[in-house]
């Protein structure tokens, strides 16, 4: 009987075939949906509070001051024609590049010094040397502001005591630029120190021993063993720091607020002044966006270099 056969045929699989097949499917699907759900908040944060505002900024930058009509790249061309803004570009680059170079050098030197110390001493000194990084920059810059004060500068007091004329740290444009860079270097060098110290520790001791036997002096070991082995970390930290330094706000804002005569303005502080203080949101947006292409170029170059070297050395 057809029904009977069908019943039997259906009865057999039901008893014999593993019921998991259907369940497995469900688990697999559930797993990936679960995973998706778990990353949803992250996606929300990145999508809603980073990606969306970024594109919104692009949109804003192409509006007129009252945000009533679309003006294309007028804001950008306007900025580029202004001398003040040209100076801001130059100042930002000068600030970022010189600060990062100084920080990398100091960090490199200090990492070596620390690495050469015995373990206990190393902890102690390392602890002291990281302090500038730990204090919020907005707070520590206040101390520098006070030390640079035109009338009461404690640094000037030291200078005059040894017979050197006092310096207008924040009043004179060149010195103001120097001061801003100095405070940034003060704040950021410990970060480099810590990174480089970790990288130094990862270079196997035996390579140095082999180099010593091969005939390398201290400097040669540095050049032929240390730096090549550390190239990746150096590149990553420099990139990271370039981005962060380029986009700096706190230090310049508190110390000079862009002055004197806008000579220390960088993208962040200028955007704040133009966008929020003067109320021209689209223009401010345009100012900030200038940063992005420069950062992106840096990032691409260094990342490409890093992944290539990674493949070379570890395969």
């Amino acid at each position: 009987m057809a029904d009977g056969n069908v019943v039997m045929a259906r009865g057999m699989p039901a008893a014999v075939a593993p019921p998991q097949k259907g369940t497995l499917h469900r688990i697999a699907r559930r797993r990936s949906t679960l995973a998706f759900l778990m990353t949803l908040p992250l996606l929300a944060v990145i999508g809603g509070l980073v990606a969306y505002p970024f594109f919104y900024a692009l949109y804003l930058s192409m509006l007129n001051k009252r945000m009533t009509r679309f003006v294309g790249i007028d804001n950008f061309t306007f900025l580029l024609s202004r001398e003040t803004f040209q100076a801001v570009i130059w100042q930002s680059v000068l600030f970022a590049v010189s600060a990062v170079i100084a920080k990398a050098l100091i960090g490199f030197i200090l990492a070596h010094v620390l690495h050469a110390l015995p373990a206990k001493g190393q902890r102690k000194w390392r602890g002291m040397l990281l302090v500038p990084w730990v204090i919020p920059p907005a707070v520590s810059t206040l101390a520098w502001w006070w030390m640079f004060d035109p009338s009461y500068s404690a640094i000037n007091w030291v200078l005059t005591t040894v017979g050197v004329p006092p310096v207008a740290w924040l009043g004179e444009p060149s010195w103001a630029r120097f001061s801003v860079i100095l405070v940034n270097v003060w704040y950021g060098a410990p970060f480099f120190m810590i990174m480089y110290l970790a990288a130094l520790k990862s270079v196997p001791d035996q390579l140095y021993e082999a180099a010593a036997i091969d005939g390398a002096t201290g400097w040669q070991k540095l050049r032929y063993v240390t730096v090549p082995m550390m190239k990746n970390i150096i590149a990553i930290t420099v990139l990271f720091s370039l981005i962060v330094t380029f986009a700096n706000f706190d230090i310049v804002r508190i110390l000079t607020n862009g002055g004197p005569q806008d000579k220390t303005h960088i993208f962040g502080t200028y955007a704040f002044q133009v966008g929020i203080q003067s109320g021209d949101i689209p223009l401010g947006s345009a100012v900030s966006l200038f940063m992005f292409p420069i950062l992106a170029v840096f990032a691409i170059f260094v990342l490409r270099d890093v992944t290539r070297r990674n493949k070379e050395m570890t395969g």
């Binding site: 797993r31 995973a35 998706f36 778990m38 990353t39 908040p41 992250l42 944060v45 990145i46 509070l49 980073v50 505002p53 970024f54 900024a57 804003l60 100091i106 200090l110 010094v113 050469a116 110390l117 000194w125 002291m128 040397l129 990281l130 302090v131 730990v134 204090i135 919020p136 907005a138 520590s140 206040l142 101390a143 520098w144 006070w146 030390m147 009461y152 404690a154 007091w157 003060w186 410990p190 810590i194 990174m195 201290g218 970390i233 990271f240 981005i243 962060v244 986009a247 706000f249 706190d250 804002r253 955007a271 704040f272 966008g275 949101i281 401010g284 947006s285 900030s288 992005f292 990032a299």
Partner: protein, 300 residues
């Protein structure tokens, strides 16, 4: 052919530097090291030291230009007392605490879940998402604050502390997720499998196994989130206006500078107290603090 040693020393090595001495080299290295340490320790620690010195001076002593500004002749705790009893300092401090605690909690929840999913469960787009996380660092706060200004205004959250809690995570979540991915990835898969066999579902695995084992990484990430939130300056400066909503970093400056008068003693006292929480966390948890920094780079 006694003179011609063909294989040995056919070309005499060029004369180079004279023979060194281990003792002498070590001595110079030590001198150099301690000199560098001394110089930089002085450079690094002078500002906090001066903050402390100034905070203990009365305004009279500060205004007095004669004498050494680096020492306190008649120390006083007046500045601290005034800050803690009058004005808005305490409010600002509490605001910072509230925001920071909330942001740390939110950050950790988001990043732990996301890191767990990204490191353990392969699903479509997971690698894309991981790179995306890194790319968010190319969009700094100084670029985002203007559009966010509009958005926050549009949401009616202008001049509202809650807005801070909402947007700070953009600064902390990418990096903490990255840290956590690194830590989770280093937990051997066998642990998962043992747990699955023991009958755990994914949530139990996360709660009972991953989190305890990755605790150092979690601590490091928490410290990072804490430090970043506490130190935030641009966003509160742009989005908070009134004193009751203000956080510490902006509040010190805005409150204590009336027109042209700078109350430096109180400013420094306020600054020092503002620096205290991160410094304390650092002092007690230094290893986790540093682990948080280096984890990003070395595991990245």
């Amino acid at each position: 052919m006694s003179g011609a040693s063909v294989t040995r020393g056919a070309v005499a090595p060029p004369t180079y530097y004279k023979v060194g001495s281990i003792k002498r080299e070590r001595r110079w290295a030590l001198i150099g090291a301690y000199a560098a340490l001394a110089v930089f320790v002085v450079f690094f620690l002078t500002p906090p030291f001066y903050m402390l010195v100034t905070s203990l001076k009365s305004s009279g002593e500060i205004a007095d230009l004669s004498g050494n500004p680096w020492i306190v002749s008649s120390p006083t705790l007046e500045n601290y007392r005034e800050l803690l009893t009058q004005g808005n300092y305490v409010t600002h401090f509490l605001n910072s605490v509230i925001v920071t605690l909330a942001v740390v909690a939110i950050t950790m929840v988001i990043s732990i879940f996301a890191a767990f999913a990204l490191s353990r469960m392969r699903f479509w787009g997971s690698t894309m998402l991981a790179t995306g996380v890194f790319l968010t660092y190319l969009v700094p706060e100084t670029l985002l604050f203007i559009p966010l200004f509009q958005i926050i205004g549009g949401l009616g959250l202008y001049n509202n502390l809650l807005a801070m809690i909402l947007i700070y995570p953009t600064l902390t979540v990418p990096f903490t997720t990255w840290i956590m991915i690194g830590y989770f990835a280093s937990i051997p898969k066998e642990l998962d499998e043992a747990a699955l066999i023991d009958g755990a579902n994914h949530f139990q695995m996360l709660w009972k196994i991953f989190i305890p084992v990755a605790l150092p990484g979690i601590l490091a990430a928490m410290i990072f989130a804490f430090t970043v939130s506490w130190a935030q300056f641009l966003y509160p400066m742009a989005f908070l206006v009134s004193s009751e909503q203000m956080v510490l970093t902006v509040g010190i400056v805005s409150d204590l500078i009336r027109g042209d008068t700078f109350q430096w003693g109180k400013i420094m006292a306020g600054a020092l107290m503002a620096a205290a929480p991160p410094l304390l966390v650092y002092a007690f948890l230094m290893d986790y603090y540093i682990a948080g920094l280096t984890a990003g780079a070395t595991k990245g």
